[in-house]
C-alpha cells in the first residue's frame, strides 16, 4: 500500500484493531481515502465493517474499544484526541449515516430541531439562519415542502424520508468524509435506488469523500471507486472497483461475487451460496481465516499470518486505488491455469454446494 499512494490522503486508517473486551474483532485494517474518493467496504454481516466505521468516528460503545492503530484525518490522529476535540470533528469534518433510519432520529425532537442542532453545534449562526439552512438542506435531499416539514416529528415520516433527513443532518456542515453504514438496507427496493442516487449526486456536488458499507455488491459497484473486502475482521482484498469486479484476486471475493444475484442467470437454478460459516471472533488460529471454506486451501494456507500484498500490476482505477492487494498466498489473478473468472466462480460455488 505504500507504492502508489498519492502524497496526502484525506483519511488514513492504519492497522486499526477493534476489540470487544479482550477479543479482537477487527484486525489490522488499513485503508486510505483521497478527497472526493469513494471506498466500498463489503463483506458478510459480522465481518467487522460497521465496527470499523463506528470506530473511525469514535461512536463505538463499550465493551467495544479501539485497541490499536491510527486514524489520521489530514495527518492528525483522531485516536489521540480528547472527547472535546473529537466533538469538533464529528458532524463537521466526518459524518455518518446509519443503517436504521427508523431509530436513528430522536423521537421527541422535531426534524427541524435535529437539523439545526447539527448546524449550530459547529457554526455560529442564529436560530433563524440555521432554520433557513435546514429548509435548504431538506429541499436538497428531496423532502417535499421542506419549510412546513421542519415542525414535523420523525414518526410522521416514511423510512425513505427519514433516511433523507439523516443525509441532510450528515451533510449539514459540509463534511469532508461521509461514512454510510448500509444506508439503504432498511428501505424497500424502489426507495433504495432513489436514496442511493441522491447520495451519489450530493457526494459529487459537495465533493465529499465517502466510505460505503454494504453487503450488496451491486450497490457497491455502482457507487464506489475502490473496494475493500472484509472477512473475519480483516481486509482480505483491496482493489480498484473496475479491477475488482473484473478480476477478483481472493477466493472469498470471487465466491462473494458469484453468490450475488445476477438477473441474467437462469432463475430455475438454486442461487449459489458460500457453504459454511464465517469463523467466530476469538477462535481464529494462524493462517488464512477463509481456508476452512476455501476450495483451494491446503496446509500452506494455515502456515502463518498472511499479509495484504500486491497481486498484479497497476490497476485501471484512479488515485489511491492503484494496486490490487489481497491477503492470499494463491491469488486467483496469479494463476493463469485456473481459467477465466466464470469457470473459477462456477468451480468455487459448485464445489461448496456439493460439499
Amino acid at each position: 500500500m505504500t507504492a502508489a499512494t498519492p502524497p496526502a490522503p484525506l483519511l488514513d486508517v492504519r492497522d486499526l484493531e477493534v476489540s470487544v473486551g479482550k477479543t479482537p474483532v477487527v484486525r489490522s485494517v488499513s485503508f486510505q481515502l483521497a478527497p472526493g474518493e469513494r471506498l466500498g467496504l463489503v463483506g458478510e454481516s459480522g465481518s467487522g465493517k460497521t465496527l470499523t466505521a463506528l470506530s473511525v468516528i469514535g461512536l463505538h460503545r463499550a465493551p467495544v474499544r479501539v485497541s490499536g492503530g491510527q486514524i489520521l484525518l489530514n495527518g492528525t490522529d483522531l485516536l489521540a484526541m480528547r472527547r472535546r476535540e473529537i466533538d469538533k470533528v464529528r458532524g463537521a469534518r466526518i459524518s455518518m449515516i446509519y443503517q436504521d433510519p427508523a431509530t436513528s432520529l430522536d423521537p421527541l425532537m422535531t426534524i427541524g430541531a435535529q437539523i439545526t442542532e447539527a448546524i449550530r453545534l459547529h457554526e455560529p449562526v442564529s436560530r433563524a439562519q440555521a432554520r433557513n439552512r435546514a429548509v435548504e438542506l431538506l429541499g436538497d435531499v428531496g423532502v417535499p415542502s421542506p419549510r412546513e416539514r421542519l415542525g414535523a416529528y420523525p414518526h410522521e415520516f416514511s423510512g425513505g424520508m427519514r433516511q433523507r433527513v439523516m443525509i441532510a443532518i450528515a451533510l449539514a456542515c459540509q463534511p469532508e468524509v461521509l461514512l454510510c453504514d448500509e444506508p439503504t438496507t432498511a428501505l424497500d427496493v424502489t426507495t433504495q435506488a432513489l436514496v442511493l442516487d441522491l447520495l451519489d449526486r450530493l457526494c459529487r456536488e459537495h465533493g465529499v469523500a465517502s466510505v460505503l458499507i454494504t453487503h450488496d455488491l451491486a450497490v457497491a459497484s455502482g457507487f464506489c471507486d475502490k473496494i475493500a473486502v472484509m472477512y473475519a475482521g480483516q481486509v482480505v482484498e483491496q482493489a480498484a472497483a473496475a479491477d475488482f469486479f473484473e478480476r477478483p484476486a481472493h477466493p472469498y471475493s470471487a465466491a462473494l461475487l458469484s453468490a450475488s444475484v445476477d438477473l441474467a442467470v437462469d432463475i430455475s437454478r438454486p442461487l449459489p451460496t458460500i457453504a459454511g460459516q464465517p469463523p467466530v471472533a476469538g477462535s481464529l488460529s494462524a493462517g488464512c481465516a477463509f481456508r476452512s471454506r476455501c476450495p483451494y486451501a491446503d496446509e500452506a494456507c494455515a502456515a502463518g499470518e498472511i499479509e495484504l500484498h500486491s497481486v498484479g500490476g497497476p490497476g485501471i482505477g484512479g488515485s489511491t486505488a492503484g494496486v490490487a492487494e489481497a491477503r492470499c498466498i494463491r491469488p486467483l489473478t496469479d494463476n493463469a491455469f485456473r481459467g477465466n473468472r466464470g469457470q473459477q466462480a462456477a468451480r468455487l460455488t459448485q464445489g461448496v454446494i456439493d460439499g
Binding site: 465496527l51 467466530v280 471472533a281
Partner: protein
C-alpha cells in the same frame, strides 16, 4: 460477531452459581427465620419473664440486647416477636400466592370479558393505598391474628394476580403451547405441567416482594395499635413499645427496626435474583429436571 460477544452478559459470580451456592441474601433470610423459629432454643430467657429490678439494662452476657422497661430480655422478645411477624407474613403470602395465581391464570386463560372483569377488579383494589385499605379491613373485621393474616393475604392478592396473568399470557403465547393445544393436549394439563413450572420463578419473585409488603403491613398496623395486640409480641409491637421509650433506650426500638430492615432487604434482593433472566433459566431447568426441553 460483536453482537454475539456483547449479548453474553457476565454472571455476577459464575463460580458460586456453578456450585449452586445460594446468594448471601437468601442465606441471611434463612438464618433470620431459623433463629426466630428456634427462639426457645436460642433465647436465654422467656419473652415474658419480667425482672422489675433491672429495667432498661444495658447489654450484658446474659441479656445480649439488654432489657425493656420491666426487665424482659429484649433479644428473646425480638426472636419470639419475629415468630409472629413471620407467621403472619408466611400465611398471607401463601394465601396471596394461591388466590393470585388462580385469579391471574384464569384471567389470562379465559381472556375476553372474564379477563376484563378480573383485572379491573385488581385495579380497583390497588387504587386504594394498601395501608389505608388495611385500616378499613381492620376496622371492619377486627385485629385478631387470624384476621390480620387473612386481611394481609387478600390485600396482596391483586398484585400476585397481575403478575400471574402477565407471565401466563407471555407463556401461552409461545409456540410450544399452541402446538400442544393443536396436538390435543389438555389445557389443564398443559397449564399445570408446562406453564406453571415455567412461570414459577416470576411468581416466586412476586411472592418475595409480597412477603416484604406483608412484613411492612404487620409492622405498620401493630405500630399504631391496630395489628398484633399485646401481650402478644411481634416486631411491630416491639417498635411501638420501643417508640415510647426512645429517649430512655434508643436500642429498644432500633433492634426490631433493624430486624425488619434486614428481612425486607433480603426479600427484595431474593426477588431481584428470581426475576433475573439467569435465575429464570436455572429454575426452568430445575423444574423440568431431565425431561426434554422445548425449543
Amino acid at each position: 460477531m460483536a453482537e454475539a460477544v456483547i449479548a453474553a452478559t457476565p454472571v455476577r459470580d459464575p463460580r458460586r452459581a456453578r456450585l449452586g451456592i445460594p446468594p448471601v441474601s437468601a442465606l441471611l433470610l434463612l438464618l433470620i427465620v431459623v433463629l426466630c423459629v428456634c427462639a426457645p432454643l436460642v433465647a436465654s430467657a422467656g419473652p415474658d419473664q419480667i425482672d422489675p429490678t433491672h429495667p432498661f439494662a444495658a447489654a450484658t452476657g446474659q441479656h445480649w440486647l439488654g432489657t425493656d422497661e420491666v426487665g424482659r430480655d429484649l433479644l428473646s422478645r425480638l426472636l419470639y416477636g419475629g415468630r409472629l411477624s413471620l407467621m403472619v407474613c408466611a400465611g398471607s403470602v401463601a394465601l396471596a400466592f394461591v388466590l393470585g395465581t388462580v385469579w391471574g391464570v384464569a384471567a389470562a386463560d379465559r381472556g375476553g370479558w372474564v379477563d376484563e372483569i378480573l383485572m379491573r377488579g385488581a385495579d380497583i383494589a390497588m387504587a386504594i393505598p394498601q395501608i389505608l385499605f388495611a385500616l378499613v379491613c381492620v376496622a371492619a373485621f377486627g385485629a385478631s391474628l387470624l384476621s390480620l393474616t387473612l386481611i394481609t393475604g387478600i390485600l396482596l392478592t391483586p398484585s400476585s394476580a397481575r403478575m400471574a396473568r402477565s407471565v401466563t399470557i407471555q407463556e401461552t403465547g409461545l409456540d410450544y403451547y399452541s402446538a400442544g393445544i393443536a396436538y390435543g393436549a389438555g389445557k389443564i394439563r398443559l397449564l399445570s405441567t408446562e406453564v406453571l413450572p415455567n412461570i414459577f420463578p416470576a411468581l416466586a419473585s412476586q411472592a418475595a416482594i409480597n412477603a416484604a409488603s406483608a412484613i411492612i403491613l404487620e409492622a405498620s398496623l401493630s405500630f399504631v395499635g391496630l395489628g398484633v395486640q399485646p401481650p402478644q409480641t411481634s416486631w411491630g409491637v416491639l417498635l411501638q413499645q420501643g417508640y415510647g421509650y426512645l429517649y430512655n433506650d434508643p436500642s429498644y426500638a432500633l433492634a426490631p427496626a433493624i430486624m425488619i430492615l434486614l428481612t425486607i432487604l433480603c426479600l427484595n434482593l431474593v426477588a431481584n435474583r428470581l426475576s433475573s433472566p439467569g435465575a429464570r433459566r436455572a429454575a426452568r431447568r430445575a423444574a423440568r429436571g431431565g425431561r426434554t426441553v422445548r425449543k
